[in-house]
Symmetry: C2
Subunit: 116 residues, 2 copies
């Protein structure tokens, strides 16, 4: 996944309505656009635009059957984002954990000395 794809995925997730839509579609695979729209206060057109963004980001796929577009959740981009973050900040996590551990242990030692 390149940077621009990462942008798309993160931007798509950065909207509460779109996260709710992901929840809906992942819990009811094959859900229609209208069915999704029925859970929101905004117009169906607005919902369609959100869904288009989600599909562009690769977070949902869709197949049209007759007059109904069936929606499916695709978790792969999220997993890729996870991998990226964890590897990118792995060193920092480790370092920070180590620092924290050291400090906590240091304080614990002081406390022990004080009480001794």
């Amino acid at each position: 996944m390149d940077a621009s794809q990462l942008d798309l995925v993160l931007a798509a997730m950065a909207h509460p309505s779109r996260r709710r839509m992901l929840d809906l579609v992942s819990s009811v695979p094959g859900m229609s656009v209208t069915a999704v729209a029925s859970h929101f206060d905004v117009s169906r057109i607005a919902v369609m635009k959100h869904l288009r963004l989600l599909e562009t980001a690769g977070l949902i796929t869709s197949r049209k059957k007759g007059r109904v577009r069936h929606l499916f959740f695709n978790p792969i981009p999220i997993q890729l984002v996870y991998d990226r973050w964890t590897t990118q900040y792995a060193g920092f996590w480790a370092g920070r954990m180590a620092d924290l551990k050291t400090r906590v242990e240091g304080r614990a030692e002081k406390e022990e000395l004080k009480s001794a």
Copy 2:
């Protein structure tokens, strides 16, 4: 972390320049605003705005010492996002993994039968 905080963090991460800024600040703790800006083509003002967003999202903190603002990376929000996503989609991951495992195992069995 509430939904609006999640919005802030995801939106802040959804820009390649801001991700690069996080990389910079995490690799050089205490870095100044000007030092960060020197790594980008856009104006210092634009960089300041990005940094303000990052700070609002809680991804960086800053302390001013004299005329210099020192920046520090804060990984906590990222961990919270991570936790939220993993728990929210945990069931789905498990199900999908199981599906994949079943299919892979099914194909493996077929392959074994074929070669047998």
